[in-house]
Amino acid sequence: MIYLIDKVLPDSYFANNLRALLVDMAVFRDLLRLKLPELSQHLDNLQKAANREVGGSYEPPLTNVFTMQWFLTMFATCLPHHTVLKIWDSVFFEGSEVLLRAALAIWARLGERIESCQSADEFYSTMGCLTQEMLEHNLIDSNELMQTVYAMAAFPFPQLAELREKYTYNITPFPAPVKTSSGKLGRGRDSDEEIDIDDEDALVSAIGCLGPLSGLLAPELQSYQKQLKDHKGEQSLRSCGNIAELSPGAVDASRSEYQATFNSMMMERMTTDISALKKQYIRIKRRQQQQASLVYIKPGPEVESDPGIATDPRSQMSNGTGGYCLTFLVWCKASFCWDFGGGTGTEIVLRLERAVLSKDNCCSQECKVHLPGKEPAEATTGSQTFCLALLLVRCILGIFEIP
């Protein structure tokens, strides 16, 4: 999960007022225009029609409600489990663009019924039915879906990196501001790109880190390997301690919130039995060192790498917290006791572990192989407990099942 949030999904997907998610939603509408021009046009028309209605009515882009949910949950709440697992597998292999591809494939499948809608309201009503059919009645054939996902374009998706960058840096209205005939022109902008004054700080930090980090794998890994050479386990552990002592304000805004929670949790754990932990940590670290060279997989599909990131202090920080995560996992395994929010966490973990184990055959093979190699570069930014828990379980499986 950590890996997913930190390395696979664009940065700030779950933090920073979901900035990256908004970017992806905007990017998605562009892709829809490219790949499914008729549907896109139809939806635009419906939206415009809804906007033309006077009286202050304003309709956000119609796909938003759905794509937002799809992307944020990675389809977990929208498609049957076996389909979701296939998509997740693919996400781990190919990167976050699979989410966009899958969304395109789904809209393509739904297109015909959507094009019969005559108004935005009718569209929402119809989608209400369709989403339910998708979830419960296998409206979307998972094999067909995955075929479409892979067939629609070469990997990485042409222009995707550019589009993401464009919307990350250029958060001005798009498509052209919708003119409403009411007096509230100022608010006729696409809300996605709308920036509140309060958001501006968040935006600055998002701009600072989002572009170069999205899908970035290789430089991180290199810097991790470099770190392995440079530091012995003990040193890294000490640097972890330093990180924990930093006030949240010293950490990048996008990470601070989660970091603070995480740190306090970790400090509590670590002070209890620091020496035992340290021993285990060193052992695991050594094993990982061996694996690191083996488990280098192909770089993420959307590597638009900015080499500067390797020297960015933040990457050091994420390496530091990577050690943290590792310690955390070791601790999980050692004590088999995990309070993630007053006992409910334990239950989550157990349930997830069961789920992951039972679905193992179709799901987490590649995680098992890939995750340990990149583990130390993982930091913790997101705060979706569910996601976090799930990936942690996967990490645990991954780390301890490899000989």
Binding site: G56, S57, Y58, V65, T77, D121, Y124, R187, D192
Partner: protein, 219 residues
């Protein structure tokens, strides 16, 4: 996105394009005050105490009858978490009515009411109607916000006020019916006072309405 628990009935409702009026309503309030539960109770008459955080924004469709008119309600259920704010406020604009909800056992959620009211003022249509709802009134033992305090705040803000319980199905239907009523009242009022507004309201609210809509909403 319509949730998995839609009953067949509401599915049928959703697809049904045959209606006289169409109102968009929005439920807002702090995280975990019971917005989604409230909507589920109303739309599906179901309740579960498990807490599942809403992802962004969700909606349900329900058709009700007011004075022989079919009124289709498109009810948007928003995520209360701060991080979704940019997304959810985009939907304020089209809403004709709001349920601003707090939890009578949670001081923070009550304190936040003022902020939510400001959000409504900032982002919504000026004539949007608001009802303040103190949810979870079944938890009398844990009550922190006295009914009177809620009522006083509602008066201050110029909102209607209800205490309700999605769990015990207290006042849920009444809240929605009241909201529909005051939206209708408001529409009639503004049409009477300002004939120019007629066209506006017809366009936003009286979709596919028969000629009888000339006199405004008959509710």
């Amino acid at each position: 996105m319509a949730s998995a628990n839609d009953s067949r009935q509401s599915q049928k409702d959703a697809a049904d394009q045959n209606f006289d009026y169409m109102f968009k309503l929005l439920i807002i309030g702090n995280s975990s005050v019971g917005k989604t539960s409230f909507l589920f109770r109303y739309a599906d008459d179901s309740f579960t105490s498990a807490f599942v955080s809403t992802v962004g924004i969700d909606f349900k469709v329900k058709t009700v009858y007011r004075n022989d008119k079919r009124v289709k309600l498109q009810i948007w259920d928003t995520a209360g978490q701060e991080r979704y704010r940019t997304i959810t406020t985009a939907y304020y604009r089209g809403a004709m009515g709001f349920l601003l909800m707090y939890d009578i056992t949670n001081q923070d959620s009550f304190n936040a009411v003022q902020d939510w009211a400001t959000q409504i003022k900032t982002y919504s249509w000026d004539n949007a109607q608001v009802i303040l709802v103190g949810n979870k009134c079944d938890l009398e033992d844990d009550r922190i916000i006295p009914t009177e305090e809620g009522r006083r705040l509602a008066d201050e803000l110029g909102f209607q006020f209800f205490e309700a319980s999605a769990k015990d199905n207290i006042n849920v239907k009444q809240v929605f019916e009241r909201l529909v009523d005051i939206i209708c009242e408001k529409m009639n009022e503004s049409m009477d006072s300002d004939p120019n507004m007629l066209g506006n309201h017809k366009a936003t609210t009286l979709q596919e309405s028969p000629p009888s809509s000339q006199g405004g909403c008959a509710c």
